[in-house]
């Protein structure tokens, strides 16, 4: 690697499409979610800071960094702090794999599995935050979070494999490039694809812990669930991680299920790809916010029952149909 290539790589990692870009995009996602939810509810949403309140998430983040942090006497503070540093890092690592420009910073055959693994670890970390806080509310929230994880993780994994089966690849970039050519080559796959897209958005809603699955941090029941004891800088990091999680969910589903990108040969094509990926991400987040706004919160037992009796069998069914239609059992081996 020449020094110039190294410089470009470092710039890409730190600025675009790396840390700075992902940080700003995460804050933009928060603004988008808040504004959209507000408009759905016939409210205004953020208005004061910046044009149309665009800078409000940044203002919140900076303000939280300066606020007093309450050290808990009985909680394992070091573990909570460590968890909260790892948490956004996990999502940033997963976001590096998303092909923002048609190609991604890091890409290898099997990075889809890596992303799924990282989101799985994040659920475990959320449980850890709740458990280390040693508060009745946070413990109940942590237990709820882990029960919900058991429900949504399996169908999420299975459903994300559907586009992988369709395109014969486990690399997110390749899936994104080859999705529409593969679908058009075999139009029988289109209903399978549509069904899996509808279901994956619902399952993703459970991963994001938004309505109707906002059970682990149900405000009116257990105050804030696992992050009830988190304040100040810790809360800033938690919020950042949460925005990144929403961004990851939107972009991952957008890229793998809507595709439409290609390997760019010129900067103009890269820019076009960038716009397409961003639009897909915002479209998926639009759907997620819409579901959030038209439902009430369910109970944990109802969620577990619904997932284990309907969603998991249905997702296995969809995957098997996809495999059968594609022909052959594991064609990528």
């Amino acid at each position: 690697m020449t020094p110039l290539e190294l410089l470009i790589f470092i710039t890409q990692t730190l600025v675009f499409p790396g840390f700075a870009y992902l940080f700003l995009l995460a804050l933009f996602t928060e603004w988008y979610v808040r504004k959209l939810a507000a408009r759905f509810e016939n409210r205004l949403g953020p208005t004061y800071t910046g044009p149309h309140g665009l800078l409000q998430p940044l203002a919140d983040f900076v303000k939280l960094l300066f606020k007093e942090e309450i050290e808990l006497k009985y909680a394992d503070n070091a573990l909570i702090n460590g968890t909260l540093i790892i948490l956004p890092a996990l999502f940033i690592a997963a976001l590096f794999v998303i092909p923002w420009l048609g190609f991604s910073l890091v890409s290898f055959e099997g990075d889809l599995i890596l992303v799924i693994l990282l989101t799985g670890i994040s659920s475990g970390l959320l449980y850890a935050i709740g458990w280390f806080s040693k508060n009745p509310y946070s413990v109940v929230g942590a237990v709820r979070a882990i029960s919900q994880y058991l429900a949504f993780d399996i169908p999420l994994f299975i459903l994300l494999l559907v586009p992988a089966v369709i395109t014969n690849s486990l690399s997110i970039s390749t899936i994104s490039h080859k999705l529409w050519p593969s679908l058009l080559a075999n139009p029988w796959l289109i209903p399978v694809w549509a069904l899996s897209l509808g279901l994956v958005i619902l399952v993703e809603q459970a991963e994001l812990e938004e309505n109707p699955f906002s059970i682990p941090h149900a405000e009116q029941e257990i105050v804030a669930g696992y992050f009830v004891e988190i304040s100040g800088r810790r809360l800033a990091f938690y919020d950042l991680a949460r925005d990144m999680q929403i961004l990851l969910a939107g972009s991952l589903i957008g890229v793998t299920f809507l595709g439409l990108t290609w390997n760019p040969r010129s900067p103009l094509e890269a820019a076009l790809n960038f716009i397409i990926v961003l639009a897909e991400t915002l479209l998926v987040i639009f759907e997620l916010v819409l579901i959030k706004c038209v439902t009430a919160r369910l109970r944990i037992d109802q969620v577990l029952e619904a997932f284990w009796t309907y969603v998991i069998p249905l997702s296995i069914f969809i995957l098997s149909i996809a495999i059968i239609v594609k022909g052959g059992l594991f064609p990528w081996v």
Binding site: E41, V294, R297
Partner: protein, 389 residues
Amino acid sequence: MSIIELIFGPQHPALHEPEMFRFHVDGEKVIEAIPRIGYVHRGIEKLFEQKTHVQNIYLSERICGICNVAHTLTYVNVIERAGDIDVPPRAKYLRVIVAELNRLHSHMLLLGAVAELMGFTTLFMLIWRDREKIMDLVELITGNRVISAYNTIGGVRRDIDSDKADKIRKVLLKVEEEWKEYKKTWMEDPTITRRTMGVGILKPRDALKYCVVGPVLRGSGVKSDVRKDDPYEVYGDIPFNVVTYDTCDSWARYMVRVDEILESINIILYALDNLPQGEIRRPLVRRLPEAEAFAKTEAPRGELVYHLYSKGGFKPYRLKVRTPTFANILGATIMFKGERIADIPVILGSIDPCFACEDRHTIVDLRSGKSFMLSSREITRKFSRGSKP
């Protein structure tokens, strides 16, 4: 998990007023619920004895801000019965209109708040958006959005003209149209019905045994409404239905309120159409003879009771208030048993708790003999009276 004592309140997002509930939970299951009331005790009953009858109108409406019209209505009723004061018919109709507007806004407040308790923020925002229109109507008639100060001894304080009546009609018809859509949402939305149906069962037998009142009782299928059973003002002349649902769960209690909103709109429209002409108030009576009187009305939350004992003069000797939430809180404790933590806000919301009106009582724990609410000195002060009539 072993049994955890989960404490709800006095500060908790599910409670809009300070009150504490201890829940013994096993995992997610509630084994026992122990309410501990008294955080907003303000000594209002004692204060009643030190103010004149006229001043007490405005004190009574501060027992509960949400159902303030019901409180003043009961208060002026009890004074009018004690002093044998006659009220002009137009004033009676106007009282009914404002009381029903108050019921509308109270029920809308609760149904919106409960939607929020279930995490349904959109429905909460939309219901409260429509509630604004009702509050604007109250402002138009009485001069203030919430605290109306409308009823007075011997009548009402303001009249409405035909312009105002037309405006009320127009807004109410619009709200009725919207509300029919919300009713469909409450009846059919899969997440709402899944959260409320079969949750917090209160059988009619238990409801009568624990003396619950108002929409909680009607949600258990018992047809009981003071407006029908013991008509005050002109409720005897106005046709309306007593709404009951017999599924006995939280959903039934919410649906009673949803339907009562439609009934209330019809009552107001009928009262506006049949508004008699004439004066709206009699000259103010400041002094009562020696008398004892009792009045009850149907407040939005249930039966509201005032009992006045006057020894003559400008001030009451004793005024006892029994608010509906105090009657309902005991029934609520048995609704919680066997339900889950997630159901606590839904069940608590279904009795429409208003702790500020409830807190005028001393609760003595019989097991330990300890008084929860007041120190012994305060209790002595509270119950030793006679020097100041």
